[in-house]
Subunit: 593 residues, 2 copies
């Protein structure tokens, strides 16, 4: 059976030693979030994840959700675990205190998210989706709607969903067909079918609040005619009358079996408009940007738990002898961690995980600044980074997170293919994160097509300037050359790629489209490489510490060196692909496929 131990030491190191999380208290409204308050929250989260949620991960996958008479039964133990989770206040941590939330900084909240998603992705999606609905409602709902729904969403007695996708449309929401007919009382009757609705129906809560994209009768075609509605399963005003929304079936899918993926039917269900008519997509995308960061964290989270189990296996499974001679001659064979190829896999995952966690924390802190800072300029700069990095974090952390679960599974050899060892579940569960909340190809297009040119490239220039300044500042420091020099090269490659787009894609957007995914990964490598420079810098300054600390700092410096020597060089290949352009990508006629 797979195990999970929250990497609290790594988390605290990133938050405080690398990213200066102690400065959070300087932000208005965050005065209380000292280390003394935050540390116990992280420890308590670790406890509930390790002891309550993680033990249901395998069994939830095996059992899956059951659909009977329109109701969905979650796997055994989920309801009890959710009760514990909710009563512990975990649904409320990232919410507005005005509605009963705890107002935790995003930087702390995303570390908790990582633990939840490492423990049990299927379980974590119930409160996760609900939080997406909370964000939209909080941002766009009228005060009356907020007063009615938010306290229950915050305390977790109700949950929420995001109903976007229909059979004929996912990415292209302009094709939404669900209709909304205005009623005399100001409400709407919603009719249509939504698919792939995570947590659309389940038995963990008293009421489910659906946020639904639909087209008001007579609205313009395409994306400019789509509005957002709130459609509760039970009508609160009518004292709990059942609304005309129901689950038609559950999807059989590759993984996240413990989460109910529903077909939802709206048969003239009562709903209320949220925000302005025909501007539903704006409200949705606000939520989605936050959700995309969360999905990036899911990739990291699965990579982390897969790593932990692969490392344990590698230390205990005996096979062969070290190439340099037996390390444990008294045993029938050496543990497989002596083999360089096994090490290569473990180091690759680890070197990714540490930097990815730093990247998420760095950007989460920008989110905190963007929401809280009293300084408008600082807010804008933080907002710029958040927008720029969101597709990178979503796309790169889920692509690489998935690849890492495959690598961790490979460490087990044939035993990785066996369900009870749990490694194949990590692969199956991690796979979804590359597809939902905007498939990763969409993230790449968002980065290249929207985020790069936005505000005349202001966000990108700020990032380049920051990394360049770091390189300049640390470049002469001999202890850091092994980190700064490779970063400098990769940054140069990213800048070349950007220039190539500027010179070639303006007249032919296919040139950007054909290179977008490689650009996103090249960007991710530079961002993760920069994180390693920051981690190494912090580690170096503590490397003279006594006891175990110095040793751990050396280990971090080594892991960072692995990243720089063995992972960052992929930047060169990405640049070569980008520069190859769209020619051979687009040349074949459609019928040749």
């Amino acid at each position: 059976m797979p195990a999970y131990k929250a990497p609290l030491r790594d988390m605290r190191y990133v938050l405080y030693d690398v990213m200066g999380g102690d400065d959070l208290v300087a932000l208005p409204g965050y005065e209380d979030f000292t280390r003394d308050l935050v540390d116990p929250i992280l420890e308590e989260a670790a406890k509930v994840c390790e002891e309550v949620i993680q033990p249901l991960n395998r069994s939830g996958d095996e059992e899956g959700c059951h659909f009977e008479n329109g109701m969905v039964r979650t796997p055994k133990g989920f309801a009890e675990a959710y009760k514990t989770f909710r009563e512990g206040g975990w649904t409320a941590i990232a919410c507005d205190p005005a509605y009963g939330g705890q107002g935790l900084p995003a930087a702390v909240n995303l570390l908790v998210e990582e633990m939840i998603c490492s423990s049990n992705l299927s379980f974590g999606m119930y409160p996760g989706l609900s939080h997406g609905a909370y964000v939209s409602l909080h941002g766009f709902g009228s005060e009356k709607l907020k007063q009615t729904y938010l306290p229950k969403l915050v305390d977790g007695s109700w949950s929420g969903t995001m109903c976007l996708t229909e059979p004929q449309c996912g990415t292209d929401l302009g094709l939404v067909r669900t209709r909304a007919a205005p009623q005399a009382d100001g409400s709407y009757k919603i009719t249509g079918t939504k698919i792939f609705i995570s947590a659309g129906e389940h038995d963990l809560v008293d009421n489910i609040i659906h946020l639904v994209l639909a087209r008001i009768e007579g609205a313009p075609e395409g994306t400019r005619g789509i509005s957002l509605f709130i459609v509760p399963k039970f009508l609160p005003a009518a004292d709990g009358v059942r609304n005309a929304v129901s689950c038609g079936s559950l999807e059989e899918k590759m993984g996240i079996h413990g989460n109910a993926t529903c077909v939802m039917n709206y048969d003239g269900a009562t709903g209320w408009l949220m925000g302005e008519a025909n501007r539903g997509l704006q409200a949705m995308f606000t939520m989605m940007n936050e959700a995309r960061l969360g999905v990036g964290v899911q990739g990291l989270a699965q990579s982390e738990v897969a790593y932990q189990n692969a490392a344990t296996y590698a230390k205990t499974r005996l096979a062969g002898r070290a190439l340099s001679g037996a390390k444990f001659p008294q045993q029938p064979a050496d543990p497989i961690i002596v083999h360089p190829d096994v090490r290569r896999m473990l180091m690759s995952i680890r070197a990714f995980n540490e930097a990815a966690r730093a990247l998420v924390t760095w950007i989460a802190l920008k989110s905190d600044i963007a929401h809280r800072s009293a300084d408008a300029k600082e807010r804008q700069a933080a907002e710029d980074y958040l927008g720029l990095m969101t597709p990178v974090i979503k796309g790169v952390l889920t692509d690489q997170g998935f690849a890492n679960t495959v690598m961790a599974q490979q460490v087990y050899g044939g035993h990785g293919y066996i369900a009870e060892n749990g490694m194949e579940q990590f692969v199956r569960d991690a796979r979804i994160a590359m597809m939902y909340e905007g498939a990763n190809g969409i993230q790449a297009l968002d980065l290249v097509g929207r985020k790069l040119p936005k505000d005349g490239g202001r966000a990108l220039q700020a990032f380049f300037a920051e990394v360049s300044a770091h390189i300049k500042e640390r470049g002469a420091d001999k202890e850091l050359t092994a980190y700064v020099t490779p970063l400098s090269q990769a940054l140069g490659e990213l800048q070349q790629a950007t220039m190539w787009f500027l010179q070639n894609a303006l007249g032919n957007p296919d040139q950007a489209g054909a290179g977008a995914t490689d650009y996103m990964h090249l960007f991710g490598l530079v961002a993760l490489g920069y994180m390693w420079c920051l981690i190494a810098d912090a580690a170096r300054s503590k490397a003279a510490s006594a006891d175990g600390v110095a040793e751990r700092m050396t280990q971090r410096l080594t892991t960072g060196r692995f990243f720089m020597e063995r992972m960052l060089p992929a930047a060169t290949t990405h640049l070569a692909r980008i520069k190859a352009g769209a020619g051979s990508v687009m040349a074949l006629p459609t019928e040749a496929f």
Copy 2:
């Protein structure tokens, strides 16, 4: 529901136009294998695969195998399909005519294998494993054993297994504990437990012949004390008495659900020694080399069928508009194949598949020459190539084949995650090929540690010389520069990597171990790049043909250009990783993981 159409045109192109398959008839014993004989075999194979085997792929995955009272029931329809398969003579095609086989060339047989494994990997494994047993028995059994078992294995009324793995050992067969006690009549009593035995028990045949690795009492420790035994489920000599071998349970696994993965218990089962005592591993490895080529084909096969379905989906699913302006303004949206990132994925898979098929066919022809040629020198040269390329084909085609199924699934967006669309099954099924018949890390070590230095590097030098000669010969040809120049660079990188091992790994084998997987993939890129040069060369010479041929040749030339521009550049990254050496890979103490 996913579909499959055997790519007969591509297969014939590779076999005849690129690889000169017409020359097969020059080999002794192959005089009959003209195009006129071979083409109908390929067409007939396509038919049985498309119409009989492929329709059971999804249902077989859903239903899986059932274990009841020691018996295994295969999924609905498998028994009937197997009967058709067997009666069509398909179990016999690659077998010795002396025992009822058809003696088909390996080059043709592996194309048939590809079709079978594209159609239904789980089904294909039953005759596939059986053929492995056939090969060992044919190579190492006494004439008496051969007369008893081969005809039935060949006609498919019996099947065979390979019983190597035990709970405590997979890769490291020196740890085998199964015991063999000599009996007065020359037989042995076999006692022990074997795991991960594909097709260990099932309902398709009348008898199952297990080839079992075991240790004769008093044999030396380690790999030099292991012998190979033949242990039938029913004893033919005793007129079908049940032997003391039984299936203890089935494994629940990630994929290939239609194939029974068995725990096999030997409780003093009667067996007979095959080949020499204590030399069981040699017999096993002979079979395994052949099996590894077959597993490489499985990677290609899953990649091919996944590609076909992704291409169909991309041509029919509507979302968004082409970046360069609507292509189908009369429809609500364009088919997603207009999007460069979707094209990138399809082209990547396609560019791999065509070259991988060429590589398999090229090496299969070497295998035919090695087995058949009258010229000893030619036989040896072919044998050298076969040995060198086997780990490359196994490792690269399964790693990349799996990655391609993931990419094809990604084309579907969220719909790729839904079981009924079948894409996620390709991912789950393809995953096993990276692990069994020697995990891919073992293939890399085999290549670097055994195949490179073998006979003073003779095989490698021959390959380098052949590719170099091609580059020299075609380098000045302007029509081929786009292929030959990138190959030349990648070959240079492979040669640098080889030199780096020579200079750095002799004193420290970890330097080779840490770079082995990257070396294998670098090697694969050069081999596939060379295949593209051969394909392009042949296509160019037919590009002036009339009708559809010229068009298809242009498409091949474009696909090859895609490979050269966008896939081959990864060679640079692999070289950088290799040259980074073992330092940061091996530096951490075990307890740091």
